[in-house]
Symmetry: C2
Subunit: 328 residues, 2 copies
């Protein structure tokens, strides 16, 4: 019998189908094709990107990572928002920032191969860029994400993540912030804190507990082998995460990517860093976290239209594979 599970934060019900669950062997890894032409993100080709915004480059040594504007940005930094109504509709100019974080000079290196020290630099870069863009009063939200592999929407294979500064708060974040506030008004506790506490205590869906962060498969995972990483102590804004939290995160994340690569044979994946809206000064309004979604299935067809998901791999089972208790 399948199970219907409700996400306590989004309110979304998901069909989790454990009758004949899909396991790692059921997911065929997509062949990785290398885009043709010169890689604009490789050392020596710096002139192929727009002028860099930030760089880590010890004196007299090669750079370790760079931030550049996206050459084909979804949003542009110049101009005014010019909000207007078109009959029943609302529109505004596509004002924002769209940056690319080139994570390493090494074309073939994956996040799974990053040392904790290397990953820490990347997380610090996310914080620095977020803090810098937050000064622009037109922006309401900063979204950091990564598309790895073609199936996840990556058009370049050189390791990179992206940052988009938006003049609006994404609907999903807005809704989740409202849920967190509502829950807090009732219980004087953060719903994410309760959720992380339960996952750490139950251990059934726990991938790894660090000193500061916990990684777990969410109860109502939309996708097979989805994992979330969240700080154990309440924190609304990623940008305020102190050094010990970042260090622990930098230790846990490469382990996740390594296990996903090993167990799922190098899947494409997306990760998204979800944090509170910029204007939010209410420290109870959110609990930042990272969501990692391997792109294993295309069964998610009608889901885009209906918003109703079927997940063929129960998160408890996914976790047992990722923890190495079961092998494919």
């Amino acid at each position: 019998m399948a199970e219907l599970r409700k996400d306590p934060i989004t309110g979304r019900w998901v069909i989790v189908a454990p009758e004949a669950p899909l396991t790692p062997k059921d997911f065929e890894p997509e062949p990785r094709t290398e885009p043709k032409g010169i890689c604009p993100f490789c050392p020596g080709n710096e002139a192929m990107t727009p002028p860099q915004i930030a760089v880590r480059c010890p004196p007299g040594k090669p750079w370790r990572n760079r931030v550049v504007p996206n050459k084909f940005p979804a949003l542009r930094i110049e101009g005014g928002l010019e909000r207007i109504g078109v009959g029943i509709y609302d529109r505004m100019n596509g004002i924002g920032a769209h940056e690319v974080i080139i994570e390493t000079p090494e074309h073939l290196k994956e996040l799974a191969d990053f040392t904790p020290e290397e990953f820490l630099e990347l997380l610090q870069l996310f914080q620095e860029r977020s803090l810098d863009l937050a000064k622009d009063k037109r922006f309401r939200y900063i979204l950091i994400f990564k598309n790895f592999g073609e199936a996840a929407g990556a058009s370049l294979s050189h390791p990179h993540s992206q940052l988009i500064a938006l003049p609006i708060v994404p609907k999903r974040v807005k809704e989740e912030m409202a849920t967190v506030q509502h829950y807090y008004a009732q219980k004087e506790r953060c719903i994410f804190c309760d959720l992380v506490y339960q996952e750490v205590k139950d251990r059934e869906r726990l991938f790894l507990e660090g000193d500061e962060v916990a990684a777990f498969a969410p109860f109502s995972s939309l996708f097979p082998f989805e994992l979330w990483v969240a700080p154990k102590k309440h924190a609304a804004h990623f940008t305020s995460a102190p050094a010990p939290v970042l260090q622990d995160l930098a230790r846990v994340l490469p382990q996740i990517f390594k296990r996903m690569r090993d167990v799922l044979r190098g899947p494409s994946y997306n990760f998204v860093l979800l944090t509170s809206a910029l204007e939010d000064r209410n420290e109870e309004a959110y609990h930042w976290h990272i969501e990692i979604m391997p792109r294993l299935t295309r069964v998610a067809g009608f889901e885009w239209g209906s918003g109703f998901y079927v997940n063929p791999t129960p998160p408890e089972l996914a976790c047992r594979y990722l923890r190495g208790e079961l092998t494919a």
Copy 2:
């Protein structure tokens, strides 16, 4: 300059990027692979499906369409819901119905090739099955959809659509019903009615206006070449659609699928029929419609996580291609 557009019904903002918009030539059609083995939906193989629920079969002639239970159902009809709380979480048994509508005996026929009469029979079948399942008081919503092509999640190529009866109302429908009610409370009009009226009047995003239904590219399309078809007169429930509306719909839909096939070179696609919740007796609470989404791009990577979409083809441009004013 890209544009940010807000969907008046979902409240979702979408980046519509018209600076270097993608046109039909930019979308590579996926090669269609034929699954191996005997097709369980072809005439002669009726024993390969579970016992049929409905059939159109004129006396002494072969069947024209059949409805069978899904052999690998996401939800099952037998049992009780048994709602329970697991700490912070809610769950219930996966009770529901999951049916397959085999649209034709012809393995290679596509919806684009259906005559209006054939399409009408299919729509009538959707209505019949919905009305039958609506008698079961455990169900709150009936979702009818089609996955065509591998990229859209189809596992069998024989023409078929699916029906899932759910013990919950999908989050998206619930939210949209709330928006419609809120708008009605303010204006005593349905927001979908206003939207359809504006699209028919403006014509910029109009694909085709029939006597009873209108087909248009939505202002804040999430996907390139997305089209919606809605009745011009207010109607909450698809099951109550009278014969003239169904007839007009049966005339318009094959034209849409034909144009999509011609212009986009046979894309995979999903369609979803969105209608009001079963318990809804408030005839203002929704406006049923069909959403058709060709699956052209995988750029939608991080969108699953963030709920924030970038659409590389402005709907006005998509419509000009679909109407034949521009050629690829």
